[in-house]
């Protein structure tokens, strides 16, 4: 722990909710997701006076796990948490009903309305939906991995890295997230095995240099993970070079998986068309295969998963939705 580096984060400013989410009424629009796409869509829909409900697990989405943002226009540098707070305050200027800590699990339709079901078993109704549900960490799908989640296997290096003080750990993934985890762990772990299935690292040079300078870090490039082993907790990881038939077992207590993200499209998988990567297919106006259902941001086929792109797509989705609602009136 290094409190000086971490600092002290202030609580979010709470505003009294003017209106609670109403299960009985039919909203004009339900936005699913509270990342940059969903929040921007909320601002645009509110400015068009669309009666909107926003349902989300958290406010900020992936930015919650981003320390600093250096490519959002207007800010040369801004902390992830600070940017989220600004987004949230912007939405709160408008009469959008925002329900947090609410995970949407399914969206279905009948002739006129869409029903949005949550993990808590509640249902909300609307004439249109914007899906801006973002992405979640991609699992390795290695043997033993699922059973050992929370017992040494983690997908949130930012959260859990400090728990592996003085221990041997494996970081899976040679991109920026993987190398950021490695660099953070150099200060706390005893030994770090960096495992990447490609023959080279894809992370930014500055991160790679930092990792390579430490004698705690041992790289296994071109290796795949066969199995995570352990009884009740992670004890070993079994890896294999892609080109050869030999395995290696590394003694580790932590496996930090940073191999990218997969779209949260499962909630609409029976409703709209997806591509092979499980992304929701959208046209240039954010329309999905179902009229009245729009999608924006990282959950869609739109290339380049960036905050600024997601925000722009959120705006487009809300404006497309507005035009669609005009047609219904």
């Amino acid at each position: 722990m290094d409190a000086e580096r971490i600092g002290f984060f202030l609580p979010e400013e709470k505003k009294e909710e003017k209106h609670a989410a109403d299960k009985e009424k039919t909203y004009e629009l339900i936005i699913v997701g509270g990342g940059p796409a969903g929040l921007t869509a909320a601002v645009y829909s509110a400015r068009k006076a669309i009666d909107t409900l926003l349902l989300t697990k958290d406010i900020g989405g992936q930015i919650l796990l981003t320390q600093e943002v250096e490519n959002y226009m207007g800010y040369q540098y801004i902390g992830g948490k600070e940017l989220i707070e600004k987004f949230k305050q912007h939405v709160q200027r408008f009469p959008v009903v925002m329900k947090e800590k609410t995970e949407v699990v399914r969206i279905t339709n009948d002739e006129k309305t869409f029903t949005v079901e949550t993990r808590d078993g509640e249902s909300y109704h609307a004439k249109t939906v914007i899906i801006a549900a973002g992405k979640r960490p991609r699992p390795l799908n290695a043997k033993g991995e699922k059973e050992l989640v929370g017992k040494g296997v983690t997908y949130c290096s930012v959260c859990d890295a400090p728990l592996f003080s003085g221990q041997n750990v494996a970081v899976i993934g040679g991109g920026n997230s993987g190398l950021t985890a490695v660099v953070d762990l150099i200060k706390i772990a005893k030994k770090i095995y960096l495992i990447e299935s490609f023959p080279s690292l894809r992370a930014d040079a500055v991160l790679v240099e930092k990792a390579e300078r430490s004698d705690k870090v041992e790289k296994f490039l071109g290796y795949e993970v066969l199995e995570v082993l352990g009884r009740g907790r992670v004890e070993n990881i079994k890896i294999k070079p892609k080109q050869k038939d030999e395995t290696k077992t590394l003694p580790v207590t932590g496996v930090l998986i940073e191999i990218g993200l997969i779209p949260n499209s499962y909630l609409a998988k029976d409703l709209v068309k997806l591509n092979d990567f499980q992304e929701i297919l959208v046209d240039c106006a954010c329309r999905t295969s179902v009229p009245g259902v729009f999608a924006a941001g990282d959950v869609t086929t739109v290339p380049e998963k960036q905050i600024v792109v997601a925000a722009g797509e959120g705006a487009k989705a809300a404006l497309s939705c507005y035009n669609y609602l005009l047609g219904l009136r």
């Binding site: 202030l10 609580p11 929370g150």
Partner: protein, 210 residues
Amino acid sequence: MAVLNDEVREQAKKVFSELKNRVKLVDFTQEVECRYCRENRMLAEELASTSDKIDVETFDFVKDKDKARECRVNKIPAMLVVGEKDYGIKFYGLPAGYEFASLMEAIKIVSNGNSGLAPESKEMLKKLSHPAHIQVFVTLTCPYCPQAVRLAHKLAFESELIQADMVESSEFPHLVNKYGVFAVPKVIINESIQFEGTLPEKTFIERMLS
């Protein structure tokens, strides 16, 4: 050097201007202060300077062992948020990073006398018949952890049977090892009930009652 920068201090002043009743931050340190014992004490003192409703009282964990026992403090650095009475709201380890928000929240709850728990949750809590000690293991870089800490503290505020501790994992590696904390937030209730992640109010209470 102060632990809080001017901006954070100004914001805290603004938030705490709405406090109703007096709150006391009871801090436990020791004569030869460990690094975060010192910063924990300074944090309490600096927060007290932001509002005339916040007092601070510092004890020596070793010399004032009777007080430590009375407050049920078993490790340091420790900070209790006390109002009209000791509700059992504790922070073990420096509440920096995301946990600073949990500390501010605890101060507001105790001062304003309102936990914000849903009426149904308060009703469910009445079924609790035995003492419950909730420990929430966190890291300071975990954005999901304060939700679990705040809920535990709200429960402690509402029920005399509940004690709720935030435990900063890197400060207490032996406990991390003892409880097998590999992911945060990790909640331990009375040693026997364990789960990872944040749960909704109702589900959390159901687990506690089970």
